[in-house]
Amino acid sequence: MTETLGKTGTLVREVAGTTHAPPPPGRRRRRAVAEEPGKPWMIRVPLFLYLLFTLIPFYWMLVFAVRPSGSTQLVPWPISFEHFDTVWNDIGFGIFFYNSVVMGLGVLVFVTILSVMGGYALARFKFRGQRVFLLAMLCSQFIPGAMMLIPLFVIFKGIGLLNSITGLVIAEVAFQLPLSLILMSGFIRNISVELEEAAMVDGCSRLRAFFAVVLPQLKPALVAVGSFAFIGAWNQFLFALMFATRQDKFTLPVGLSYTLGEFNTDFGALAAGGVVAAVPVVLVFAVVQRFLVQGLSAGAVKG
């Protein structure tokens, strides 16, 4: 849900940009010319409808969250924060939120650093078994998390990582790393080796050349990989639910499912919890979407 919002946001921006800016060269221009006879509204109206379609559920969530229970107003006024009070203080979303933030940041940091390091190695060095390694990385994506649940549970129990955010971070990093690694090595491959070599001719060590030349150009990639890592961790439900046997280690998705009882659901609390869970993701996308479009298109077109 949250990802769609991000995608919609970027999509709208991108299209708005292309209609005003001169069309980019190459194949895209030819296509743009073929579509030229269309009027702006032919793009805007469908896009606006699509935007409505994605935003209405969010509007409903907001309405449910801020109107008092029992009310059926479509435009809630006066706004009531009773549901937020319930979820934050009574249900414990304060703790869940903290846990989710710590976990999200941990995953972000480790996935970004490790994928830059590994991605660089994959892009710049040739080593025996490289293809096999890449293939194995890709194949690991086919394994559903549920299958790893019990083995991981047993291992984590053995080394005392149950009921800890550290354990969740390790598990989530392990699951996210392969794809991030492949993405990152694609980005790095697109940065010309010549620049690096030039820096080394000028006396840089490989490490310094990396920091001086490669890393600045990797910004969009770092943002793309980092934000997806964060959001992936933010939405992680299964591990968070299974590895925590103490309520003070629950994360937000677990907290949300906690508001859904077998016989009664407090829709106000559920919606308020949903808002609490969605806001950081929306903020992340609002801040990084500019870089994200750069990052994604850089990977897509040149790759």
Binding site: T86, D90, I150, V154, L241, T245, Q247, S257, G261, E262
Partner: protein
């Protein structure tokens, strides 16, 4: 240097001793973990209150409460069993009890119940349901409360139309038709056609047919012609006395239609008590499922809720003490009054709140009536839920849409159930 090393080692030892949680300390204090199988803001405060009462009565036992979201509780238990991290006490319902017993995760409670104050104090029909769920007939949970299928109806609509609550299915059907006014968007009944539909349909079918056992000579009785008759009768009501959207109704939509005021009668269970009364106040009441032409009252019991002591627990005595406390007359009364379900402890029968909670009194009356025949669904069959949910719910929608007859629909399901039962008997 050596001294330092020794000191460090001693400190480490002391630390690791402290951090071994849950175990019995040398001072006799124990901490036990309790998993609530339907955790959430609605039930957590009730348990918290009971736990604080328990802790003040037993100062050497601490109870750690963990609420598990009800949708994931079975998976959570399975993972915990596989990983050897089960709680000491847990809420368990008969719907997945057989599964847990099959993994040898629970301790039988017969002896503990019979040697304590709970002896002969538990509603026999519930005890029987629990016994029938375990392959060896032992009691692996101490039942705490029961739910029952009932029909919620709008007393104000009935009064305006000069109608009485129907007693038989035929009356029920004519009542539903009489209360329908499609022009005014008023319908007599709402059918659950979406998720969870078939379980409700089965209880209706057995209530109608009066067939008193799920299997006869190893063969499923589900496709009994009388059961099929009921399915067809319900399907006939579709669109005539029910909203057209019913074919996709799950619990949420069904209850939204009812509390929204467009439906006169809804088949659900006691669990929706707080939702319906919050929306409709005293304009709603409960009646038992009507009886069929046989005149016999057959009830397919809902899953029974209870507490289990886990075999892996190092503090089984303390765990049992807590389970026993939760099912004692006082706690059981407090708990069931809050959630509006049938108390398992028979001493609660005389509690004052039962007289004011008409729906509980009615349901209790049905369960205590010697003429009532319990027909427990074979929830012990591992395939039961996939047969009645995944495989059958879409088929039932076809029945509602008139693409399949009730008999064809039940024949198919009965065949699968018979096979599953045969497999079960062979393995036993």
């Amino acid at each position: 240097m050596r001294k330092l090393l020794v000191a460090v080692a001693a400190a480490a030892l002391a630390l690791s001793a402290c951090s071994s949680e849950g175990g019995g300390g040398t001072d006799g204090n124990v901490t036990i973990t309790f998993w609530d199988n339907n955790g959430g803001p609605a039930r957590e405060p009730i348990y918290k209150e009971l736990i604080s009462r328990f802790e003040s009565a037993n100062p050497n036992i601490k109870v750690e409460y963990v609420g598990i979201p009800s949708a994931s509780v079975q998976q959570k238990y399975d993972t915990a069993i596989a990983g050897g991290e089960t709680p000491d006490v847990g809420g368990v319902t008969t719907s997945y009890l057989a599964h847990l017993v099959g993994q040898e995760a629970l301790a039988p409670l017969d002896d503990r119940i019979n040697s304590g104050p709970l002896k002969d104090k538990l509603l026999p029909s519930l005890v029987e349901t629990v016994r029938q769920t375990a392959p060896d007939g032992k009691l692996y949970i101490v039942p705490s409360s029961a739910n029952m299928d009932i029909i919620w109806y709008r007393t104000d609509w009935f009064k305006d139309a000069g109608l009485e609550a129907p007693k038989t299915w035929d009356e029920f059907i004519t009542t539903a038709e009489k209360l329908t006014d499609t022009g005014a968007n008023k319908y007599g009944y709402t059918i659950r056609g979406g998720a969870g539909s078939v379980f409700q349909l089965i209880t209706e079918a057995y209530a109608y047919s009066g067939v008193d056992n799920f299997f006869k000579d190893g063969k499923s009785t589900l496709n009994d012609p009388a059961n099929a008759e009921l399915v067809d009768k319900v399907a006939d009501l579709y669109k005539k006395a029910t909203p057209e959207a019913d074919v996709n109704n799950s619990f949420t939509q069904m209850i939204a239609q009812f509390t929204g005021g467009s439906v006169a009668m809804m088949h659900h269970n006691l669990g929706s008590y707080s939702d319906v009364t919050k929306a409709l106040g005293d304009k709603v009441a409960a009646m038992p499922l009507p009886v069929g032409p046989s005149g016999k009252r057959t009830v397919v019991p809902n899953p029974t809720d209870g507490f289990a002591v886990f075999k892996n627990s190092e503090n089984q005595d303390a765990a049992w003490k807590f389970a026993e406390f939760l099912t004692s007359a006082e706690s059981n009364s407090y708990w069931n009054e809050k959630v509006g379900q049938i108390p398992a402890n028979t001493d609660v029968r005389s509690a004052a709140w039962i007289d004011t909670a008409a729906h509980v009194k009615m349901a209790l009356g049905v369960l205590e009536d010697p003429a009532t025949i319990l027909v427990p669904a074979p929830v012990y069959l591992p395939q039961y839920s996939s047969i009645t949910k995944t495989e059958s719910e879409p088929q039932y929608q076809k029945v509602l849409l008139g693409e399949l007859t009730g008999q064809q629909f039940l024949d198919d399901m009965a065949k699968k159930l018979t096979e599953a039962e045969k497999e079960w008997e062979e393995r036993k």
